[in-house]
């Protein structure tokens, strides 16, 4: 089966995506990741105002068959968390690149984006 890998995003090998917009990065997990996990039942996220560092875990996604740490693709300050996921964790399955987003991070260092995978490279990794 082929998974959705939007061209305008950047990716981590550990299956997180980043969408940047004017110095802010929105972070979530990929279609491939949600499919691997199965039904998501719980998402644990940091608080607004917390600092995250590229490569460090920032939260936890728990599904009916696994618990996975989620890693930050970029460093910076958390400006928003998707509180909808606390009541509707299934949004991660239903719309991983949209309603299922996790964090908005104010980028501390835009050059970190260069270290991430493009859509093509990520697609190769998951096929």
């Amino acid at each position: 089966m082929s998974f959705d890998v939007p061209d305008d995003l950047r990716y981590l090998e550990s299956h997180e995506w980043v969408r940047t917009d004017d110095g802010t990065a929105r972070v979530g997990i990929t279609d491939f990741a949600q499919d691997e996990l199965g039904d998501v039942v719980f998402v644990e996220l940091p608080n607004e105002g917390d600092e995250v560092a590229a490569g460090d875990e920032f939260g936890v996604v728990e599904s009916i068959k696994a618990v996975s740490d989620v890693y930050a693709p970029v460093s910076g300050t958390v400006t928003a968390v998707n509180e909808a996921l606390f009541d509707q964790p299934e949004l991660v399955n239903e719309d991983p690149f949209g309603e299922g987003w996790m964090l908005d991070v104010e980028l501390a260092d835009e050059s970190e984006l260069d270290d991430l995978l493009g859509a093509e490279a990520y697609r190769d990794q998951t096929e």
Partner: protein, 442 residues
């Protein structure tokens, strides 16, 4: 490792040898990687005995116990345990050293634990209860670390009443040491929390305020709602210590703003022997994923029948060691089973009757002791539950020793203060006890 087989160990030396060969190691020690720095390499100094000899030895040791009628209290309470509890809990389906959690084979046990949790939820008014902690001191320690995890602002202080039993405080301090929490006391006045002094002490650096009802002096805490408000105003958790018998009569913790309820539930189902504890732990649903210990949940099986299973296990260390809510693995499932049986046998009305006895008996006994020359009781104003403090003109230590010589056990808690517990279990002994106090307190 013994070099000879034993009727109690299944493997003969030859079998052991064969197994070691199969995995390719020389001796059993090679299977374990215990650093020398922590390995015990000595003699336990326990001589081997045959069974009959061991029984004789044990009987001799037990014979050294004082045969006292206990009016002791202070955390250990005697209530009559109906024989049905002993009988049912001793069935082989229940009585095993292996706690039965596998839903495929342990529906009965899991249901009993679910009933125990449900009982605590009903008594506390909170949403979630686990199916036991080791004892009330560890439950308190777990509440303290939970408060640090769930609080949105930083704060490192845990406030406890100045009169807190030493063992409980020691365990709490042990718990607090790792995560860097500070334990501080607030004063008590006349056996209850000194609310005005507490208000001075609570600030935003406080992660949790702990109070007890009944207090360590046996007094029913009357201003719990005020303590709850103080905690809430400072964004601190309010942890309340109590027990299921008291809670069947006193106001529900949830109604006074308690976020966590801890305590010892072993006043039901087990006697005071063995130092048994049964740590109860109940909290609000919003902290569900921060609850330590085991949770039994009710679900449905593939055929739509009600089925019980351990749930939300990702909180636990066997799933994720470094991210676990707690590293306690001790569970008192069988003791909880007995407490649930005892409570179910009494039923709601029976439980209330038992609790009312715990109010009237100490009240009446205190009144009788107050008439004894050289005794004033109770020392504290207010309502008492199970126990009270009395003042003796004679030194308390001497009074306690003289009473012990007469066959009665009470606590000395100060120069001229003794603490006396009275429940339905001591009813028949009260007459003699008052007589003995009359003799020794003059």
């Amino acid at each position: 490792m013994t070099d000879e087989s034993s009727p109690y160990a299944p493997h003969t030396p030859a079998e052991t040898e064969a197994m070691l060969d199969a995995v390719g190691v020389d001796d059993v020690e090679a299977l374990f990687d215990v650093p020398d720095s922590v390995a015990f390499d000595g003699d336990f100094g326990i001589p081997a005995h045959g069974e009959r000899e061991a029984r004789r030895e044990a009987a001799k040791l037990l014979g050294r116990n004082d045969e006292l009628t206990e009016f002791l209290g202070r955390g250990h309470y005697t209530h009559y345990v109906p024989s049905v509890v002993e009988d049912l809990s001793s069935r082989s389906e229940f009585l095993t050293s292996y706690t039965q959690y596998q839903p495929e084979i342990a529906q009965g046990f899991l249901q009993a634990l679910f009933e125990y949790q449900s009982m605590l939820v009903e008594l506390t008014g909170l949403d979630v209860a686990n199916c036991s902690m080791y004892d009330e001191a560890t439950a308190l320690g777990e509440a303290a670390t939970l408060s640090q995890r769930v609080r949105s602002v930083s704060g490192e202080t845990i406030l406890v009443p100045e009169h807190l039993r030493a063992g409980k405080r020691a365990v709490l301090e042990n718990y607090a040491d790792g995560p860097g929490l500070d334990i501080e006391s607030y004063p008590m006045a006349d056996g209850q929390a000194d609310i005005e002094a507490l208000a001075e002490t609570v600030d935003t650096d406080v992660a949790m305020v702990y109070a007890e009802t009944p207090t360590v002096r046996g007094v029913v805490e009357e201003r719990l709602a005020d303590i709850g408000d103080l905690a809430e105003d400072n964004d601190a958790l309010f942890c309340l210590g109590s027990d299921p018998v008291a809670l069947s009569l006193l106001e529900r913790p949830a109604d006074v703003g308690a976020d966590v309820v801890v305590g010892d539930a072993a006043s039901l189902g087990t006697g005071t022997a063995y130092g048994f504890g049964l740590g109860m732990f109940a909290t609000r649903e919003e902290y569900l994923r921060q609850v330590p210990g085991r949770l039994v949940g009710a679900s449905e099986d593939a055929d739509g029948r009600r089925a019980y299973t351990l749930t939300l296990q990702t909180r636990e260390q066997h799933i994720r060691k470094e991210r676990a809510t707690s590293n306690i693995c001790t569970n008192q499932a069988w003791v909880a089973l007995r407490a649930a049986m005892h409570a179910a046998w009494l039923g709601p009305d029976g439980l209330v009757d038992l609790a009312e006895d715990c109010v009237t008996r100490p009240r009446d006994l205190a009144a009788r002791l107050d008439e004894v020359v050289g005794v004033q009781a109770p020392v504290h104003d207010g309502h008492h539950f199970r126990e009270f403090v009395a003042h003796t003109d004679q030194p308390a230590r001497a009074v306690v020793d003289d009473l012990a010589a007469d066959g009665y056990g009470v606590h000395a808690i100060g120069e001229h203060l003794i603490q006396v517990a009275a429940t339905e279990a001591t009813a028949e002994a009260e007459e003699g006890f008052v007589g003995a106090v009359t003799e020794v307190a003059k």
